[in-house]
């Protein structure tokens, strides 16, 4: 299987603290990988490292065929990260933000309107400054930019938090369509229900590395037994 | 001499001596901080005789 994400013994030190401590991970096209783990386990850092926003201190890491240890910038624009921060300029409107992202990524600018409409950012809301928006509305703007950018690898960090059920459904169905077309999704979520976004695989992060990795059918069993799998159950 | 010359030499020698003393002190502190690290690295060794 062709690997879209390939992390081998990755250590990431950020602010003199080891956020990732020897993480091994592989993912191929069409996978929806649910990343679980306790607070501070390293889930967000893992996603940020895949996105190329954290410098890999040790180990080897390839994303979309690019060696991101040597060239951290070369895969970034093909990766979409929807996380706790939305990279928006507060003093620009929703439309201006989305347009800026499209221009910056050299994407087709005509996709902006349909992407915004699809998440319900139309009319007056589209021309409202981000600073006046609620957390959920901001997330919609970030999501619209992401949809219009059409990345190959989707990194969703608690994507459903603060979104209404209607927008969740838009997100899920869009992402599902991309996955069917070969995109890969890494999904961090604490919620038991992930809408119609059905993971094909579950990995558990603990202490900055992968401590459990199972296909979905096994995962249900694993979730029932509390025991974290230490160094076992590794599907690399 | 004239006071200025002495003052100049005193300033140079004084500051350099002061900075050297500071370096020696910091060196001692750094060495002390390093001892537990060394001990750990040389676990297989017999270790210090104390």
């Amino acid at each position: 299987m062709q690997s879209l994400v390939s992390f081998k013994n990755v250590i990431v030190v950020s602010g003199n603290f080891p956020v990732l401590t020897g993480l091994d991970f592989e993912a191929g096209p069409g996978e929806i990988v649910l990343v679980t783990g306790r607070n501070g386990a390293g889930k967000t850092s893992f996603l940020r490292a895949v996105a190329g926003l954290l410098r890999i201190t040790r180990g080897s890491a390839r994303v979309l065929g690019v060696d991101i240890v040597a060239n951290p910038g070369d895969a970034r624009h093909r990766v979409g990260l929807l996380g706790h921060e939305s990279f928006l300029y507060e003093d620009l409107t929703a439309r201006e933000n989305v347009n800026f992202v499209l221009k910056a990524t050299r994407s087709d600018p005509s996709g902006a309107d349909s992407a915004m409409a699809s998440v319900g950012l139309a009319g007056r809301l589209a021309d409202l400054r981000v600073v006046k928006m609620s957390a959920g509305q901001r997330k919609k703007v970030a999501l619209a930019a992401l949809l219009a950018r059409n990345p190959e690898l989707w990194l969703l960090d608690e994507p459903h938090a603060s979104l209404d059920s209607w927008t969740r459904e838009v997100l899920d169905s869009t992402v599902n369509a991309k996955v069917a077309a070969g995109a890969t999704v890494l999904l961090v979520s604490h919620e038991a229900q992930h809408g119609s976004l059905v993971p094909t695989r579950v990995v558990e992060v603990g202490g900055g590395k992968i401590v459990g990795d199972s296909l979905l059918s096994e995962a249900i069993v694993a979730e029932e037994t509390v025991k974290p799998k230490q160094e076992s159950g590794h599907v690399a | 001499m004239n006071g200025y010359v002495e003052a100049g030499y005193l300033a140079v020698l004084g500051v350099l001596a002061g900075y050297s003393a500071l370096l020696l002190g910091r060196s001692r502190k750094a060495k002390k901080a390093l001892i537990p690290v060394r001990v750990k690295e040389k676990k297989s060794d017999p270790g210090p005789t104390e």
Binding site: P18, N39, G40 | Y4, V5, G8, Y9, V15, L23, A33
Partner: protein, 262 residues
């Protein structure tokens, strides 16, 4: 830890610089004759220019080390430590340059400070590298700090000729020579020249010793940091295991499990 050879060299350089400085002081203060024009004051020439030279030498070393760190092929945290060490020693010597220049200036010019081009440049240099050290002293990721301070160090050094040129013009282009500015370089010859040369050599040795010592300290501190980091990595790797034990000892205790920073 640096090798025994390194420490041995450092001690040798240290002893030599003690002897050389002592010789310079004896020759400079008592053996050499007073100058025809400047009188006893000329004795400051055996310390002031050498100290100034060391300051520039130190910043040169900082710049070279910064380049070597920035260049990916030679990138090594040791260059960063060397750059930092040399800059710190350089600031000490720049301070001394200012103090000795001022002490010399008072009887020569009648004032503690004159807006002489060299003096002004040195003062700006002092502030520039204080800024560099301030940037370094801010707690940060060690790689990030190394890159940023290397760039700051390099830019500061490139700025020096521009600053100097502007100050030289400032003092010469628009003001006629009304400023009390007799040259600080009297005619020297014979044993005076020898003593001056000795001054340059001995303070360069002092610099070498200080740099070696300062670098060794930085290197030891870095080793402690590295060891702490290794330990933190190991502790963090054990987190799931500990978590598992805790869950089984006391169920439902769901606090955030961050290891304490050592």
């Amino acid at each position: 830890m640096e090798s025994n050879g390194y420490r041995w060299t450092r001690k040798l350089v240290g002893s030599l610089s003690l002897i050389l400085v002592a010789a310079t002081v004896v020759l400079g203060l008592w053996i050499t004759p007073p100058d025809v024009v400047q009188g006893q004051l000329v004795r400051l020439i055996y310390v002031h220019p050498p100290v100034a030279w060391v300051a520039y030498l130190a910043y040169g070393v900082t710049s070279i080390a910064s380049v070597l760190y920035l260049w990916k092929r030679t990138r090594n945290i040791k260059w960063d430590l060397l750059a930092a060490s040399s800059a710190e020693v350089g600031v000490v010597f720049t301070g001394l340059t200012l103090v000795t220049g001022s002490i010399w200036g008072k009887p020569a010019w009648g004032v503690w400070w004159t807006w002489d081009a060299r003096l002004t440049t040195t003062a700006l240099l002092f502030v520039l590298y204080l800024g560099y050290l301030a940037l370094r002293s801010v707690p940060a990721d060690s790689h990030q700090r190394a890159v940023r301070s290397a760039i700051a160090g390099l830019i500061a050094f490139i700025d020096v000729p521009i600053v100097h040129q502007s100050v030289v013009w400032w003092r010469t282009l628009h003001q006629s020579a009304t400023v009390l500015n007799p040259s600080l370089s009297p005619k020297i010859h014979g044993e005076m020249a020898m003593t001056l040369l000795l001054g340059f050599i001995s303070f360069t040795f002092v610099y070498a010793w200080m740099l070696m010592h300062r670098y060794e300290i930085a290197s030891m501190q870095q080793q402690v940091l590295d060891a702490e980091l290794e330990q933190m990595i190991q502790e963090r790797q054990r987190e799931p295991e500990l978590e598992f034990q805790r869950v089984h000892v006391k169920d439902g205790n769901d606090q955030i499990n961050q290891p304490s920073k050592v």
